[in-house]
Symmetry: C2
Subunit: 654 residues, 2 copies
């Protein structure tokens, strides 16, 4: 167990100035957040009404009407509010601040006298509070409101929402717990656990940590809460139904089939899994709990060694938006939810804070630069929910195995968890870039930024620049005047085989530890660390048990996974082969790809003349001729910005 | 339009004596039929109760209790009865005959006074007869009873069941038709159409053909019957439901989205499609209807040029047990229902009778020797419902895209359409072997058999022998005494590149027409036709638009598709490559494979050491070494007779 204290960067003191992640953050700030606000207020006629803000208005008695939306509709508002809060602290915006302040007042007005706060139950079923935790996301919504309250406080300094969510959390502390008159339950969709841990860190109120831990430790114990709760519900409703609903029966869907200490594999709904594990890793560190730490190490290990896509996506099946089994990672039917990769970044961040090991940051980076960055369109107004690694648009609508797949990003969703989740991730990206610890400042991501980190009461000011991940060179310049003795721990990415570092021109020769190069010195204004991370184009091959990858190769440069898209390479991407010995050329993108690097390499295409009467099967020889074709690879995250077309990451090779 | 009259072989005059199809027919006769009878009577404690016979007992007033099973449970009994009838005419069996006679009496006793006969509605909803043709299979069940009645008459000479089904059909003629007081509808699941066409051929009662034609021509016309019927139902039931049920909405699921003359592609539930088209082809010939013929040609063409598996399977998705779209033929998630390939044989037979073109027999043979033959286990008591071309048992239970796949044949099914369908197909296989026409006797399949065909009142007796499809040589010996002038039209299979024929040692040099070699002569006792069909092992490649087959090859010898099975080749079949230049050795099978020919060829395996900590992705090189491995291919139909294991037809090649 690592006993170094880690902190969170104060986002007021961090400005992202990066041509890729920074541009995306700016897009979120300037386009996505206002766009999403319009949608949440039902003011965008092109999008199905969300009704999410209206539900709060109804609950606050400021409008008349009926609740609409999913049982967890409140969480869309909460996640958006969190995104707005982080945005405000880095880029003041009076108009946005006014809207947020009014929203906070609305939320406060909707809160019940005892602290309870959930518009679905307030409006629809006030007598049924806490009667169906298995299915109804009541604590999940509470968790997102709590996260919003913490972010609003940390981002703007205003305590108004924090007080609201503390009252809510205090209410939860009376309802849930080990006493006889308390509910011994937990939510079917984890989230409250990680939120309470954050609330504890913001308030230092021990009871929030205790309740978070109660929820985690109670999960999966016998007699099983889902069954008890179900029985209770059945007794109060006539007629009783014959069979328990599937979420009660399939307890592994919500990681409640066993106590966590006995679980061996990443299982069930992928978002639930990573949200839960984010909390467990946080608790393990805060509570110095070795059993929880072992649970994290074991389940992380199963996930990254058996069940993760090369894009940092998880959850390989549409049924239950869930993990499948070891080594089952189909490309075209993958679910790979955007929220799951965002949750994976959260889980990885907490693992990193616990272990200070670069391999967690490697996974975080992989998810960020591929699936997460790709989940938002270049226009900021369209989003992917599902992120398969191979898409053949023509077939999607005709075969049920693709029911969950969209060939293009969409304006919104009936279940709209992803868009505001994407927004809050990019506005809070600073939390992932650095892990400030008492022994060192861990630099996890080389996103260009300017930061001030408190070291023994002094501000260590740094500027990271270098056009990562397009260029090899990263520069870290010290901008603070007083000399500060501290260690900079620079992550050496797993994809880089020959990293080199220098300080003021002198090579650094120390051995890296756990994926970080530790440079200790008294840092002075003008000091310059240069990190060279040579970005050869790498061919990547799957573990031989990944049966969908046999004979195929993926292309990676730096942290970016590349793909073939129809717009560059024509249709029938399955008929393209990358030559085993071809060399890659780096191409400076233009237009939509301006500032981005594309790749080209020699390949072949099985060329054939399509005629109506062609037979479906041919004896003795392949029907067609192999002809040379230059293949163009684009970064995965940039695909589907030129309309509907085929895409494929894993390419035939020979 | 072909105006040659074709007939059906009288199965009394045909004895199958064949080491493969004949052995399977014997297995059906001696094992499957008695086994299925036990199951249908709920006397097999290892199988979920069928209740199908009991439902008839209840409807006949001979027992008390409730209906159980699907709404189409009656059809299981009808198909079994048809199988038994054909079996009795070729192999007398007093015990079976007694059981069948009793069953026929039971069915007769269950019939309502007006001729109506359906145990579900008689027992459960007598007032709701004919109110939900879209979903309730009422005419489908009637169709199977009619087929049974025809078969029982033709197979045993007994008129008892024929009379029952004629009363039923007469009842239908009053209920359905163009008059104001008749229902202008048709069944959601086609079957009645093909049954009425058969009943017409057995009875020559024109009204049955007229009604079959009415059902076919009415299908898909506007105003749409499904909507009219749904409206009517809704008016009589409170509360009305908001949305029409999916079978009403998704009219293409049951090929009712348009009149057939306007349909362009094979669409929807695959079994429904082929049952419907079997009737249309039959009607087109009997009614000399050019528009129906064009419909058949067009839809057949779409199916075989875009939507059929190499195994003669159709219906590439589990959702709706349905066709997908052109060139979408995934291997592992295929539905490929056994009943669909049986229905395809029926459709192909009617096409062949209409066009006398060998390409229909080619498809019939492909379905028979691969999917259909493989749908029954060597023990006769286990059946495949779903027949994918690639199975990885370890993954099936964990990923929802495989929900419909079983890695082994099963004893029975909740929806048990396949087992008795398999039984009736093999007992009536003689109908597919020959197409007797006025101008020639078309020999479609080289199943060994002895037959007597009536030619101008004389019996032309033939014996076909030769261990097809294992050996190249087929011999047709004339066994009838009086000289008979007639044409033998011998099918030259599409898979054979160099067929040769001789009569009494003299080569036949005439040009084949439409896939048949026409040999006209006066046949005398002792005449011997020798047909040589060299069976090189053929490598087969997919149309370049079949994106799951890129870089892969299938192996075929004669009509048999071969596959790799784990029992011979080890696990991870995706890590095996067949060498592009390797030669095949023919191996005589032993034990379970006695009498069968296996194939061996040189290949390579990506060999890797499995260790727990291995990374999921590897840079720069494939993790493992290619090592030579001899690959063993077995005929597809024989797989999964040695327990659970991987199987794959399309193999990597390089």
């Amino acid at each position: 167990m690592n006993d170094r204290n880690v902190a969170e960067v104060d986002l007021h003191n961090l400005q992202v100035s990066d041509p890729l992640i920074g541009q995306c953050q700016q897009l979120v700030r300037e386009v996505a957040i206002p766009y999403q606000w319009e949608v949440l207020n039902d003011r965008n006629p092109e999008v199905i009404p969300s009704h999410a803000v209206e539900n709060f208005r109804l609950a606050a008695g400021r409008a008349r009407g009926e609740f609409h939306g999913t049982v967890f509709q409140d969480s869309d508002v909460a996640k958006w509010l969190e995104a707005a809060a982080w945005s405000l602290c880095q880029a003041p915006n009076p108009e946005l601040e006014k809207a947020v302040d009014e929203l906070v007042e609305l939320i406060a007005a909707a809160q019940s006298g005892d602290g309870y706060l959930n518009t679905y139950f307030i409006l629809n079923a006030p007598q049924e509070r806490w009667t169906n935790l298995t299915e109804c996301h009541e604590l999940y919504c509470a968790g997102h409101l709590i996260e919003a309250g913490v972010a609003f406080f940390q981002g703007t300094g205003k305590r108004r929402l924090l007080e609201v969510v503390c009252r809510l959390a205090d209410h939860l502390c009376t309802v849930f717990g080990p006493e006889c008159d308390q509910l011994h339950g937990y939510d079917g969709h984890p989230e409250i656990e990680l939120a309470l841990a954050r609330l504890y860190e913001a308030t230092k109120e021990q009871r929030y940590l205790t309740l978070a831990n109660y929820f985690v430790e109670q999960r999966g114990t016998e007699p099983h809460f889902y069954d008890i709760e179900y029985e209770k519900r059945q007794q109060s409703c006539v007629p009783k139904s014959d069979a328990a609903p599937w979420m009660v029966k399939n307890k592994a869907y919500s990681q409640a089939q066993l106590p966590l200490s006995e679980q061996r594999t990443a299982t069930g709904h992928a978002v639930r899994f990573v949200y839960l594990m984010t909390a467990v890793a946080h608790l393990a560190r805060l509570r110095q709990n070795e059993q929880q730490r072992q649970t994290c190490l074991r389940l992380w290990q199963n996930m990254v060694q058996r069940q993760i896509y090369i894009t940092g996506a998880i959850g390989s099946q549409g049924a239950g938006e869930a993990f499948s089994s070891d080594y089952d990672l189909p490309n075209d039917t993958a679910y790979a939810e955007s929220c799951a990769s965002i949750g994976l970044m959260m889980f990885a961040r907490r693992m990193l804070e616990m272990e200070l090991d670069g391999r967690y940051a490697d996974v975080m980076e992989r998810a960020l630069y591929n699936t997460v960055l790709g989940s938002i369109a270049f226009d900021g107004r369209h989003y992917f929910y599902v992120n398969p690694l191979e898409v053949h648009p023509k077939t999607l609508r005709s075969n049920g195995i693709y029911n969950h797949v969209s060939p293009v990003r969409r304006r919104w969703f009936g279940c709209a968890c992803c868009p505001p989740n994407i927004a809050r991730l990019f506005t809070s990206i600073g939390h992932y870039i650095y892990t400030p610890s008492t022994d060192a400042l861990y630099v996890n991501l080389y996103v260009g930024n300017r930061v001030a980190i408190s070291v023994d009461g002094h501000a260590l000011r740094l500027l990271i620049s270098g056009s990562y991940p397009w260029r090899d060179q990263v520069e870290i310049a010290v901008e603070s005047a007083p000399p500060i003795a501290h260690t900079l721990a620079l992550r050496l990415p797993e994809w880089c085989s020959a990293p080199q570092a220098s300080v003021n021109g002198k090579p650094v020769n120390c051995e890296p530890r756990k994926g970080y190069l530790h440079i200790r010195r008294t840092w002075r204004q003008g000091d310059r660390v240069k990190l060279s991370l040579p970005m050869q184009v790498r061919r990547v091959y799957g573990h031989p048990q990944l049966r969908n990858l046999a004979g195929k190769v993926a292309i990676q440069r730096g942290p970016l996974i590349y793909c073939l898209e129809e717009a560059d390479n024509g249709t029938e991407l399955h008929n393209l082969w990358l030559n085993a010995d071809s060399r890659f050329s780096l191409i400076e993108g233009t237009g939509l790809f301006s500032g981005k690097i594309l790749l080209e390499a020699g390949g072949t295409r099985l060329q054939h003349t399509h005629y109506e009467e062609a037979a479906l099967y041919h004896y003795d020889k392949v029907p067609g001729q192999l002809e040379p074709q230059q293949l163009t690879f684009i970064p995965l995250f940039s695909w589907a910005n030129r309309g509907e077309g085929e895409m494929r990451i894993w390419v035939n090779e020979r």
